[in-house]
C-alpha cells in the first residue's frame, strides 16, 4: 500500500453475498480527478452500477466515502457521503452527514467503503482497523435508530464505536429512509437507508486506532489560523452558535420564502413561536459540534413542561423544524420537536416525510381526500394527532401511510389525484424555501443531480441582494439579486462546482460555503498542504465541473433529459400570494437555456456535449453513453 498524507489510502470492498472482503489502495488518479467523498462515490456509482439496475436488488451498491481533510485538525467539520442508486428517484442517490463517523472511518484506515450484494441473513458490519466482521443482526430487527446504536455499542463493549444505522422505516422499505450516524446525523435524502436495509444490512460500525499524517504542517497550521481568525469574528458565528440553521426560520419568513401550508403561503403567522430564537431562549441547554469543527452549531434541547416534558435531543436543524411546523401548518413547537425526534428514531427523511403529509393535508383541506381514505385521520393543517400518526404509519406502511411511503410522486400517481401539487423534482421532494422568491435556488432545484435540493448548489450570495457581487463574480448585476432571473445560469454553475468540491473534501457547507471560509483558492492550498498533491484554484474548479458533468451523464444514462429539469406548476404559474416576494413567479425556460450554455450541454436535450465531456476528462463516458443508446453530439 502506498503511504499517503491526508488520505487513509485504502478502499474497502465488502461483498455481503459471499462474505468476501477486499482492500485496494486509493487510486492516485482518482484523487487528482475526483478528490474524495462525493466525487469518489459518483465515479464509483457511474462505473459499477449499470443502467436500469433495480435500486433494491443486490445489483445496487452502497458506497460510503469521506475526504482528505477529515481526521485532521482542519476546522470545518468532517462529513461522509453515502451513495447508491436511489429507490425513491431511480437516479443518483446520495446524501451526506456530519458528526464523528467520517473521522473514525479514516482512523480505521479507509477513504471509501463499497458494499455489494445482499446478505443471506440480517447482519451489521463491524470494522475495527484491518479486522472486518459481519455480525449477526437478528436481535436488531425492527429496532429504531437509537436502540440499534445503543445495542451495537453495548455488544462491542466500547462506547467510542461510531455507528451508522437504519431504523424500521428502512426495513419496511419506505423509499426515503436515511442512514443515521450519532443518532441524529442522517444522510437522509434519496432513500439510501432503504438501499442499506435491502441488503439485509442494519448498520455499519467503525472503530479506528490509526492516525493521519499531513504533508506540509507549516502551511497547514497557517491556513488553520487564518480560518480561526475569520471564523471567530464572522457575523454569522454567534447566530450559528446560538441557533444553528434554525436561525433561517425568521429570515425565510421575513423574505417571504417560508413554505407554509404546503406552499400556499410564503409567510407563517406563527413563525416566531417555532423559531430558532425561541428554541435558544427556552429550550437549549448546551452546544455540540461535529468532529474537529470550531463552530458548535448543534444544540441540545430539553422540553421542560407540558405534554412532552422531559423530551430531549440534539438539533433540530431548519429543514426538519420547518418541515414539521410551517410546511404542515403547525404552530406547536413541542409537537414539532416530538415529530422530528420520532422521524429520527424511525429513520425517515424529514423533508420528504413532511412533503407527503403536507400534500395530503392540502388535498384534504380542498375536499379531494376524505376521512375514509386517511384511516379516519382529520388531515387539517396543523392537526398534531394526525402529524404524529402519519409519521408512524409511513414508517410501518400502515393504511394510508403505505401510500405515502413511496414518496409524493408515486403517491399522487397511485391516488390519481394531486399530481400538480406533488412538490418534487425528479422524484425528490422540495426543501423548505420557495423558489419563487429565490431564483438561483430554484434553478438549483431544477437541475440538481439528486433531484430537488439546495445542497447541490447553495448559491447563498443571491441572498445578499447586492448587485456589486454579481458584477464582481459573474459580470451580471442580476446574478446576485434573489428575485432576478438573469445571470442565474452562471451563478448556479459556479456554486454547483463549489459544492461538489466541498462535498468531496467532506467539510461543512455552512462554514466552507455560506460563511465563505473555503473558497476555491484556499480549498486548493489546504488540500495541497494536507495531501502533498498539487492543486490549484483552477484545478479545483475543474474537479467540481467534472463531478457535476459525470453525475449528469449518470442521469442521462438513466433517461433524464431537459424535460425533467423543471419545477412543479405552482411555482411557474401561481404568483406568490403574500410576503416580501409577493407576486413573483418562476420563469424557468430562459434560465435553463443560460445554464446549459454555461455548462456546454445541449440546449434541446440537456445532454452534455461530447466535446465538453472530453474537455472535463470524461471522454470514456461518451462511448459508454452511446453504448447505452444515448444520442450524443
Amino acid at each position: 500500500m502506498p503511504e499517503y498524507c491526508g488520505y487513509a489510502g485504502r478502499v474497502l470492498r465488502i461483498d455481503l453475498e459471499s462474505n468476501q472482503v477486499k482492500v485496494q489502495h486509493t487510486n492516485k488518479r482518482l484523487i487528482t480527478e475526483f478528490l474524495g467523498g462525493r466525487g469518489f462515490n459518483s465515479k464509483r456509482l457511474y462505473d459499477e452500477v449499470p443502467k436500469d439496475a433495480d435500486p433494491l436488488s443486490p445489483q445496487n451498491k452502497l458506497i460510503f466515502a469521506t475526504g482528505p481533510l477529515v481526521g485532521t485538525a482542519f476546522p470545518l467539520g468532517a462529513r461522509f457521503n453515502v451513495t447508491a442508486k436511489s429507490p425513491l428517484t431511480r437516479i443518483l442517490g446520495d446524501s451526506n452527514a456530519g458528526g464523528h463517523f467520517a473521522a473514525e472511518m479514516k482512523f480505521a484506515g479507509y477513504d471509501q467503503l463499497i458494499i455489494e450484494g445482499k446478505s443471506p441473513k440480517p447482519v451489521y458490519i463491524f470494522i475495527e482497523d484491518q479486522e472486518i466482521q459481519m455480525k449477526k443482526a437478528e436481535h436488531l430487527a425492527g429496532k429504531d435508530v437509537y436502540e440499534t446504536t445503543e445495542t451495537i455499542k453495548k455488544d462491542s463493549g466500547d462506547r467510542t464505536v461510531q455507528v451508522a444505522a437504519v431504523g424500521p422505516a428502512a426495513e419496511n422499505r419506505v423509499l426515503y429512509a436515511g442512514v443515521f450516524a450519532n443518532l441524529v446525523r442522517p444522510a437522509a435524502r434519496t432513500g439510501i437507508g432503504t438501499v442499506m436495509a435491502s441488503k439485509n444490512l442494519k448498520a455499519v460500525a467503525v472503530k479506528g486506532t490509526g492516525s493521519i499524517r499531513i504533508a506540509a504542517p507549516g502551511k497547514f497550521w497557517k491556513i488553520v489560523e487564518e480560518i480561526e481568525e475569520e471564523t471567530y469574528v464572522h457575523p454569522q458565528y454567534w447566530p450559528r452558535r446560538t441557533m444553528g440553521t434554525t436561525r433561517i426560520m425568521m429570515l425565510a419568513d421575513k423574505l417571504g420564502i417560508l413554505p407554509t401550508r404546503h406552499f400556499t403561503s410564503a409567510t407563517f403567522q406563527h413563525a416566531s413561536q417555532v423559531s430558532g430564537e425561541r428554541l435558544a431562549r427556552e429550550y437549549n441547554v448546551k452546544n455540540r459540534a461535529c468532529f474537529s469543527c470550531i463552530v458548535p452549531c448543534s444544540r441540545v434541547y430539553v422540553i421542560r413542561e407540558g405534554e412532552y416534558a422531559g423530551l430531549h435531543g440534539e438539533g433540530p436543524e431548519y429543514e426538519a423544524l420547518s418541515s414539521f411546523t410551517a410546511r404542515v401548518g403547525n404552530s406547536n413547537l413541542d409537537l414539532a420537536l416530538k415529530a422530528v425526534d420520532l422521524a429520527n428514531r424511525l429513520g425517515l427523511d424529514a423533508i420528504t416525510t413532511a412533503e407527503c403529509i403536507a400534500w395530503s393535508m392540502e388535498l384534504y383541506e380542498k375536499g379531494e381526500l376524505t376521512k375514509k381514505e386517511t384511516d379516519n385521520l382529520e388531515l387539517k393543517w396543523g392537526n398534531s394527532e394526525a402529524i404524529l400518526a402519519l409519521i408512524q404509519k409511513i414508517a410501518y406502511r400502515e393504511g394510508f401511510g403505505d401510500l405515502l411511503a413511496d414518496g409524493v410522486r408515486r403517491a399522487a400517481e397511485k391516488l390519481g389525484r394531486g399530481k400538480e401539487i406533488a412538490f418534487h423534482v425528479k422524484g425528490l421532494e422540495i426543501i423548505q424555501a420557495d423558489p419563487r422568491g429565490l431564483k438561483g435556488y430554484g434553478l438549483g432545484y431544477a437541475v440538481a443531480s439528486r433531484g430537488a435540493d439546495h445542497l447541490r448548489s447553495e448559491p447563498f450570495v443571491e441572498l445578499s441582494d447586492d448587485p456589486k457581487r454579481g458584477v464582481e463574480m459573474f459580470g451580471v448585476p442580476e446574478a446576485t439579486l434573489r428575485l432576478a432571473h438573469k445571470g442565474k445560469g452562471k451563478l448556479v454553475r459556479y456554486f454547483e462546482n463549489w459544492c461538489a468540491v466541498i462535498d468531496s473534501l467532506e467539510v461543512c457547507k455552512n462554514l466552507a460555503g455560506n460563511m465563505e471560509l473555503l473558497p476555491f483558492d484556499r480549498a486548493a492550498e489546504a488540500t495541497e498542504a494536507v495531501t502533498g498533491f498539487h492543486f490549484t484554484e483552477d484545478a479545483m474548479f475543474e474537479i467540481g465541473e467534472r463531478i457535476v458533468d459525470l453525475e449528469r451523464a449518470y442521469l442521462v444514462r438513466e433517461g433524464i433529459r431537459r424535460r425533467d429539469d423543471y419545477l412543479p406548476a405552482r411555482f411557474l404559474k401561481e404568483p406568490l400570494p403574500n410576503g416580501l416576494s409577493k407576486g413573483e413567479i418562476f420563469e424557468i425556460e430562459p434560465m435553463l437555456d443560460e445554464y446549459y450554455a454555461e455548462r456546454e450541454w445541449n440546449l434541446r436535450t440537456g445532454i452534455p456535449k461530447a466535446e465538453k465531456l472530453r474537455k472535463t476528462g470524461l471522454g470514456y463516458v461518451i462511448e459508454d453513453l452511446k453504448r447505452n443508446g444515448v444520442k450524443i453530439k
Binding site: N182, G208, V285, A289, V295, R304
Partner: protein, 157 residues
C-alpha cells in the same frame, strides 16, 4: 500547581483537543495517540474531556510495578518509556481513566501540559478547557460531574 480544568457545560465534543494534542506530541492526528480524550454520550448530548490531573498522591504511580511513572518537576506525573513494560496496571488504577497506551509502542500516554502552554487549552473553540492554578490534589469524579450536569440541564431528574 497549574492544571487543565474542564467545563462540561461548554464542551462541544468537537475533539479539536485530541487532534492538536496528538499532532503536537506524535506528529500525526489520531484520538488513539492523544493524551486527552473526550467522552461522548450522544443520547444525553454529553461531552466530557478527560485529561491527567497530576494527582498527589497518584494511584496509578503507586500501582506501577516497574516504577515507570515518576514525579517530574512542578509535580507532573511523567511516564518513563524505558522502564514501562506495558502491563496496563496504570490504566486500571487511574481514578479518572486519563491514561491510555500508545497503540503501537505500548507506553502510557500522559498529558505533559505541553511545557506549561497546553495546546488543547489554547485551541479549544469554546474555552471549555482552561489552564489554571488549583489547590485540589484530586480531580472531581467524572461520574459525579456528569450526573450534576445532566441534572442542571434537566436531562435527568
Amino acid at each position: 500547581m497549574k492544571r487543565i480544568l474542564v467545563d462540561v457545560n461548554r464542551c462541544s465534543g468537537c475533539r479539536v483537543c485530541e487532534m492538536v494534542c496528538s499532532f503536537n506530541h506524535e506528529n500525526a492526528f489520531g484520538p488513539s495517540i492523544s493524551r486527552i480524550t473526550v467522552i461522548k454520550e450522544d443520547s444525553y448530548g454529553l461531552d466530557l474531556p478527560i485529561v491527567c490531573w497530576h494527582c498527589n498522591p497518584c494511584y496509578a504511580m503507586e500501582s506501577c510495578p516497574e516504577e515507570a511513572l515518576e514525579r517530574g518537576k512542578e509535580g507532573l506525573v511523567l511516564a518513563n518509556e524505558e522502564k514501562c513494560v506495558g502491563c496496563e496496571k496504570c490504566l486500571e488504577t487511574c481514578t479518572i481513566g486519563a491514561i491510555k497506551l500508545h497503540p503501537e509502542e505500548n507506553f502510557p500516554l500522559i498529558c505533559d501540559q505541553c511545557n506549561g502552554k497546553p495546546l488543547c487549552v489554547e485551541k479549544c473553540p469554546t474555552k471549555a478547557l482552561t489552564y489554571r492554578e488549583t489547590e485540589a490534589q484530586q480531580p472531581r469524579s467524572p461520574s459525579q460531574v456528569v450526573k450534576e450536569a445532566l441534572r442542571r440541564w434537566r436531562i435527568i431528574a
